[in-house]
């Protein structure tokens, strides 16, 4: 279960070449994982296309977060395969290697570095060489300063750039974490409940931001809020008891009797 036994693969965070020649960026095939006999993920298969925006919904305990844990290397599945592009076997990489390969994650509970300032949080997240010596010698170039400034603007935290992150509100932390995700410049973004704690206006902004990312990036959004999902106007995957229950447009999903019975007990 521990990711500690995985082979650490040292990759520079800079230029990444990902073989997506078949148009698929993430293959998950027959994944199963159980905790103490409880099957959190049960024979789950999921394919995300290059540049796609996908919503994953499902009731509590459907395995959404565990799914993200597997993709980002936090949890190792008992069975199944997970490939990033054509060539990268995610099950053989640890968290850092996966992040460097180009998968970024925003957590359900926003996790930022509270003792650092907003700008410093972004600086740490910024794509670049991650090995200790280069981090030690790293200095912000003018270009990088501009990137941080523009990201601050994008997430609306310009005024707070030198504040400790501990002083931010829940919604501001969400934004900061999204900002960190942007700084990472990942190929695939896993976004876990980004709308929690946001006003309707902020939610709309987040939706716009995520939609604008799609195309260059692939985005997987896990969300509870149906209005937010609707605003994204993207294909939806429904998870139930650790496997995929249905896939399709939101309207199609909502009229699916199987989904209705799971959600509404009909």
């Amino acid at each position: 279960m521990s990711a500690a036994n995985r082979r650490p693969v040292s990759r520079s965070g800079g230029e990444r070449s990902l073989d997506t020649s078949h148009g698929t960026v993430l293959y998950l095939e027959g994944l199963s994982v159980s905790f103490d006999g409880f099957k959190a993920i049960n024979d789950l298969s999921l394919y995300i296309n290059d540049g796609e925006l996908r919503c994953v919904i499902g009731p509590n305990g459907a395995g959404k977060t565990t799914l993200m844990d597997i993709v980002t290397g936090k949890t190792r599945p008992d069975e199944g395969e997970a490939w990033f592009g054509q060539t990268l076997d995610l099950l053989r990489l640890d968290e850092a290697a996966i992040a460097n390969a180009g998968i970024g994650r925003k957590f359900q509970q926003p996790t930022v570095f509270t003792e650092l300032t907003v700008a410093e949080n972004l600086e740490l997240a910024m794509a670049g060489n991650r090995n200790v010596l280069s981090v030690l010698r790293a200095k912000l170039s003018g270009e990088q300063r501009d990137l941080i400034a523009s990201t601050l603007e994008r997430i609306g935290l310009v005024a707070l750039r030198d504040m400790n992150a501990s002083t931010l509100s829940h919604g501001q932390k969400q934004w900061l974490e999204i900002g960190m995700l942007l700084m990472q410049q990942p190929r695939l973004l896993l976004v876990d409940e980004p709308a929690t704690g946001m006003t309707h206006q902020e939610m709309a902004q987040t939706g716009e931001l995520l939609c604008s990312l799609a195309g260059d990036h692939s985005v997987v959004v896990v969300e509870h809020d149906m209005d937010f999902v609707r605003s994204l106007d993207s294909p939806v995957t429904v998870l139930h008891q650790g496997s995929v229950l249905a896939e399709g447009s939101l309207d199609a999903i909502q009229s699916d009797p199987l989904v209705r019975s799971v959600y509404l007990g009909e």
Binding site: M1, S2, A4, F35, D36, A40, T66, D69, K74, T75
Partner: protein
């Protein structure tokens, strides 16, 4: 030639001895008049008081082999140099010097006879040769004691000196009915034969083979001794195979013994660690004062023995609940007034409890003594339990092993079958959830800490029976206890049991070839490496939340 302490004796000696034995046996079954020394003893004493060296030596043997009730006491009197000849009465008596006078007592019943001047009593003095003969005679006396257990002890006492001639052993064998004594006699006979340079041929070979199969620890010495001296090839090969057989059996029993010592050490480790495992499992608190809580339990035992002088057993039994309560109360006070204020900050708690450990240690030094105090073992915890001639286990360790199992069983019952145990497990698994369903987790914390501390007290009571009780007692066990907890996995009773016993057995199996200190170092390194591979112990808690930090 036979070597007897005190010199080399001529063969004629054995004939006389043999006659003396027969005479002794005859006397043994003849009616003896009370308040009068048997004739055999009387005549022997007359010879002893004489000047003929050979006769005097013989006299000692005659007394020893007389088989009379008085012979042992008489030999003791001779050895202590208190045998006097009361000239006017021509009677042998025991005399005590009182100033310039002598007080005389009857040898038969110890009655005081008279107080006489020094002219009337003449000391029967003995020289070193005689003293040696008396000593060995005293040792062989047990060989014909009426009590089989005494006879057995007597036979075994001869294993080192091998001073009993084969003929005598054969005679004893003829009349012996007790199987255990017979077996020992056979072994003694074989040992005597093997170390007898003149022995050879079939009887010797049988004896060698018998020793090879013997379970008597002393059987190896004559075999090895003869192997070094012998130049006969056939004899040598028989000896070497017997030695091999013996040594491999000895090694097997040695292994069993090491495993027992390991289990014993392990059971102590389990006792010491289990309280720690519970508090760590439930509260995530490393209690660095755990060792000092163990020490308090040991001191409670000492205090109970001071309160009940002369009743070490009762005091020890009372110390079990008392030790639990003393340590538990100290633990609960610590939890209530300090540790509870640092909830959720395990590293700070570690430092805080370390402060308590220093204070408790110094308190014992200041208010009781900086030196070790003496805790005595009750009779039922001293001595040893002989499972086999090659395998005897010390009683205190055996008792403590059972005590450990009993504590474990009770604890398991508390955890699985009581309401408190249920709540405790609930808090361990999910504190917030437990609170939601009405468990007062604060109260459970205090009680849990009390339970863990009380268990430390029990460990202290047990430890007081094994070694020194002093202010540093706890320090010696704390690192080991941590390792057991870490090795076994947190919050898992079975993990602690298996971990403790495993570490104990491993230590004792490594020790014979590495030495105690190196064994400890090796084990520490091994556990550290183990933690590297399995950071959450043998039986890790699992679940989605388990990996979060």
């Amino acid at each position: 030639m036979m070597n007897v302490r005190g010199g080399t004796l001529p063969p004629v000696f054995f004939q006389r001895l043999w006659r003396a034995v027969l005479l002794g046996l005859a006397v043994c079954f003849s009616p003896v008049q009370a308040a009068d020394l048997p004739d055999a003893l009387q005549s022997a004493l007359e010879d002893l008081a004489g000047r003929d060296k050979v006769l005097r030596l013989e006299a000692v043997e005659r007394i020893a082999n007389s088989g009379t009730e008085e012979s042992e006491a008489l030999l003791q009197v001779i050895l202590s140099g208190e045998l006097y000849h009361w000239k006017p009465e021509d009677r042998f008596v025991r005399g005590e010097k009182d100033g310039r006078k002598f007080i005389l007592y009857a040898l038969e019943d110890g009655a005081e006879l008279a107080t006489v001047g020094r002219r009337e009593a003449k000391k029967v003095s003995i020289n070193n040769t005689l003293r040696g003969a008396v000593k060995s005679a005293l040792a062989t006396l047990d060989l014909i004691a009426p009590d089989p257990a005494k006879r057995l002890a007597g036979v075994r006492a001869q294993f080192a000196a091998l001073a009993v001639p084969v003929e005598r052993i054969d005679a004893l064998l003829e009349s012996e009915s007790d199987t255990a004594v017979r077996d020992s006699l056979v072994t003694l006979r074989a040992m005597t034969l093997v170390s007898d340079e003149t022995a050879s041929g079939e009887p010797l070979m049988t004896a060698i083979a018998a020793l090879g199969n013997s379970t008597e620890p002393g059987a190896l010495t004559p075999l090895k001794g003869r192997f070094e001296r012998s130049d006969d090839d056939a004899e040598k090969s028989a000896l070497s195979s017997a030695i091999k057989a013996f040594e491999s059996r000895q090694a097997r029993f040695g292994m069993v013994k090491q495993v027992f010592f390991g289990l014993s050490l392990g059971s102590i480790l389990v006792l010491a660690a289990i309280g720690l495992a519970i508090t760590f499992g439930v509260m995530g608190v490393i209690n660095m004062a755990h060792g000092e809580l163990i020490m308090l339990g040991a001191y409670t035992t000492w205090a109970m023995q001071q309160l009940l002088p002369g009743q070490p057993g009762v005091a020890l039994l009372l110390a079990i609940p008392m030790g639990f309560m003393v340590s538990a109360s100290v633990g609960m006070v610590m939890e209530r007034f300090a540790i509870s204020k640092l909830y959720g900050r395990p590293l700070e708690t570690l430092l805080l409890t370390f402060g308590f450990s220093l204070i408790l240690q110094q308190a014992v030094r200041t208010f009781i003594s900086a030196r070790n105090v003496a805790v005595s073992n009750p009779s039922w915890m001293s001595g040893s339990l002989e499972l086999h001639p090659m395998l005897s286990l010390t009683m205190n360790r055996v008792v403590i092993m059972f005590f450990c199992l009993a504590v474990f069983a009770v604890l398991w019952w508390v955890m699985q079958r009581t309401r408190f145990g249920l709540q405790l497990r609930a808090v361990t698994q999910h504190r917030e959830m437990a609170r939601c369903v009405g468990v007062r987790s604060r109260r459970i914390d205090t009680l849990t800490f009390g339970l863990g501390a009380g268990l430390a007290g029990l460990a202290g009571v047990a430890l007081s029976q094994l070694g020194n009780v002093g202010p540093n007692l706890g320090q010696a066990w704390i690192v080991d206890s941590f390792l057991v907890v870490v090795f076994g996995g947190v919050g898992n009773l079975w993990g602690t049991l298996i971990g403790g016993l495993g570490i104990g057995v491993a230590t004792k199996l490594i020790e014979p070839w590495s030495g105690a200190v190196l064994a400890k170092v090796l084990l520490l390194v091994a556990v550290i490496l183990f933690i590297q591979r399995r950071p959450r112990g043998l039986f890790p808690p699992s679940g989605r939340s388990a990996g979060d930090n």
